[in-house]
């Protein structure tokens, strides 16, 4: 019954706003996921729903979000639905001022001292419940806030107070400072940072240094973080370099408060994304360098290398990536890429072939072929396991702009996978998907077949997706 009441509340709110109060500007969206998957002899059902509505009357806004999840989080055996109003915010916004009361997300600097955010695809939501004030004009940006942060699992943490001020004496220069006061990891911990950015036509520099003070329980000499990024453009050559040094700078286990840049390349392709480096601001050192160059006209070549380690050198992660994009013939856009990832003793070499053929104005065909060669070590027995490979195929036929039909397949010769299936079984996953867009703002996606479970990573955060053997329905609506 509570679900019914909450859903009705939002429904009534939407209808009354749209139909009876003309001056209201109402936008919203609804995301619905439903999955039925066979595991052993039983059928598992997964259900997720997010309904968001935002009302704006002149300068006053109200934002509400309702969520329902069954099971409460992926892989949970609890069969009770977790549901409720997960976001409620009242705001006032004028040309230079924004005030919010309720739930909000924010980032100070590049997130070394504070970053709260939502990543729905990873089940990540670290909002703050409190007060937020922002002043912004051409020369000054000021943020002041206070409240209780939520962890990704929904539990509350110690309150915090924070602020950021930055000065923009000229369009090309910005100087700023941030501060967070929390009782993590000890009462009255002060975490602060200073940053500087220079934005020139031929390149840019950003550098932020963070430290903690006034805390007798922590060694102020070790709790430090430094992040720097720079771009340089020489004619058609574009260069990027990033550096990170994070020592004892995770304000709370599980990154509730802060979440600095991971300095790891975000991969486009499934097989490479499964082997992303997981960020740990407590103990991390690394860099990333990347170059792009148009080899022939607009045919772009990208080369990237990233390295991460910890202070004892017990973790070493290398990521080398090359990609070339070109048109040949004029109607086919190709992306060819190769990558080498090394996580300590595990090595992955990946090749990707990704052409997209625009057959005519109404039809397009996109194909993806990924091949990954892997060599891993068995740490328990200190033996080298024979190499195996994994291949991923997909083909998508786009019909006009609103219908697409896709086929997905994955196969592996990995004999050491645990969990989803037993050794000796056929390791092939095969599925088909229909995607339909209707009334401009509604999208329905129906998947049937099998899909491999495993890590799904974005920006250094990973989620273990359960394997699927069944059907999945996703409906997204905007209004």
């Amino acid at each position: 019954m509570p679900v019914f009441y909450e859903a009705s509340f939002i429904a009534v709110l939407i209808i009354t706003s749209v139909y009876s109060i003309e001056d209201f500007n109402v936008v919203g969206n609804n995301e619905f996921h439903y999955t039925v998957s066979q595991k052993d002899d039983s059928l598992n059902r997964f259900f997720e729903e997010w309904a968001s509505v935002s009302l704006l009357y002149k300068k006053i806004g109200i934002d509400l979000r309702y969520e329902a999840h069954l099971p409460p989080s992926p892989g949970d055996f609890n069969l009770e639905t977790r549901h409720g109003i997960s976001l409620r915010t009242v705001s006032f916004q004028s040309r230079h001022i924004l005030v919010k009361a309720g739930h909000f997300y924010t980032t100070l600097g590049r997130g070394l001292t504070l970053r709260t955010f939502e990543k729905r695809e990873l089940g990540w939501d670290t909002r703050i419940d409190g007060l937020f004030f922002k002043f912004q004009n051409d020369k000054v940006d000021l943020k002041l806030l206070g409240g209780i942060p939520y962890a990704a699992n929904g539990s509350k943490y110690d309150p915090l107070e924070a602020g950021e001020i930055s000065f923009i004496p000229h369009d090309i220069v910005q100087l700023g400072a941030t501060m967070v006061i929390t009782d993590r990891p000890a009462p009255n911990s002060y975490w602060e940072s200073l940053y500087f950015s220079l934005n020139l036509p031929f390149g840019s520099i950003y550098a932020e240094y963070a430290s903690q003070t006034f805390n007798e329980f922590l060694d102020a000499d070790t709790a430090k973080a430094l992040y720097a990024a720079s771009t340089l453009f020489i004619k058609d050559l574009s260069l990027l370099a990033e550096f990170k040094y994070y020592m004892d700078y995770n304000l709370n286990e599980g990154m509730v408060y802060n979440n600095p840049p991971s300095v790891i390349r975000e991969h486009f392709y499934t097989l490479q994304n499964r082997h992303q480096y997981i960020s740990n601001p407590d103990n991390e050192l690394g860099f990333l360098v990347e170059a792009t160059y148009p080899v022939i006209q607009d045919n772009l070549l990208t080369v990237s290398y990233g390295y991460s380690t910890n202070k004892n050198n017990t973790i070493k992660y290398h990521d080398l990536y090359t990609q070339v994009e070109f048109q040949f013939p004029q109607t086919v856009h190709w992306i060819l890429s190769s990558g080498f990832q090394k996580e300590n003793f595990n090595r992955h070499i990946t090749m990707v072939l990704n052409p997209e053929w625009n057959i005519n104005d109404n039809y397009s065909l996109k194909v993806e072929f990924q091949h990954q060669h892997t060599a891993v070590n068995d740490f328990e027995n200190y033996e080298k396991i024979p190499k195996f490979y994994t291949q991923y195929y997909s083909g998508t036929l786009g019909i006009y702009s609103n219908i697409s039909v896709s086929l997905f397949a994955e196969t592996t010769t990995d004999n050491y996978i645990q969990g989803d299936f037993k050794i000796g079984q056929n390791r092939i996953w095969l599925g088909g998907e229909l995607s339909l867009t209707f009334l401009e703002s509604h999208n329905l996606t129906f998947f049937a077949g099998t899909r491999r479970g495993g890590k799904n990573c974005t920006t250094g955060i990973c989620k273990n997706e359960p394997a699927l053997k069944g059907v999945e329905l996703k409906i997204t609506s905007s209004f």
Binding site: V26, Y66, Y105, R110, D138, D171, L439, E440, T476
Partner: protein, 158 residues
């Protein structure tokens, strides 16, 4: 129930919505205020990110559209939702892909949430009165034709 309501509301509400105002800092360091630019001509707003492959396909078409309609004061606002993890790649991407439009940074996703979006790419076409004429999530070949049809309708009405 919520899905049915959402579909019903969209289908029955023919009145187009006004674009919500926002202030964002651009890649060039300058603030951009939407309301101060409405009235000058049609505006296309596209939300994108450096890690989004379909966004590149869409922006390639936007680049062509920008060249074709530059004589009618068409503004294209390309709003990057890259967060702090990938923010440093935005300038490099814009430079290497030679995007000629105004690029704005929404790394806190304040505007993205203000428009209640649920993924990128997402595109809006706004007329000179600030009314959203066309809104579309995702990119598939052919979407650019519908965008152009709507853009031509705006030009014709003006």
């Amino acid at each position: 129930m919520l899905i049915i309501i959402a579909i019903k509301v969209t289908a029955e509400t023919e009145e187009k919505k006004k674009a919500r105002d926002f202030t964002l800092r651009g890649l060039n360091g300058k603030n951009y205020i939407l309301s101060e630019n409405i009235g000058k001509g049609p505006i296309i707003i596209n939300f994108w990110a450096t890690w989004c492959l379909p966004c590149y396909s869409e922006m390639k078409e936007l680049k062509r559209i920008y060249g074709t309609y530059s004589n009618i004061n068409l503004q294209i606002l390309s709003i990057s939702i890259d967060d702090v993890k990938t923010l440093s790649k935005v300038k490099m991407t814009v430079r290497s892909k030679k995007y000629p439009f105004t690029v704005l940074l929404d790394s806190n996703r304040g505007v993205y949430k203000k428009y209640q979006l649920s993924g990128v790419p997402h595109i809006f076409l706004i007329d000179k009165n600030g009314i959203i004429i066309y809104s579309h999530k995702g990119y598939k070949k052919g979407d650019e034709k519908i965008l152009e049809e709507n853009l031509q309708a705006i030009i014709k009405n003006e």
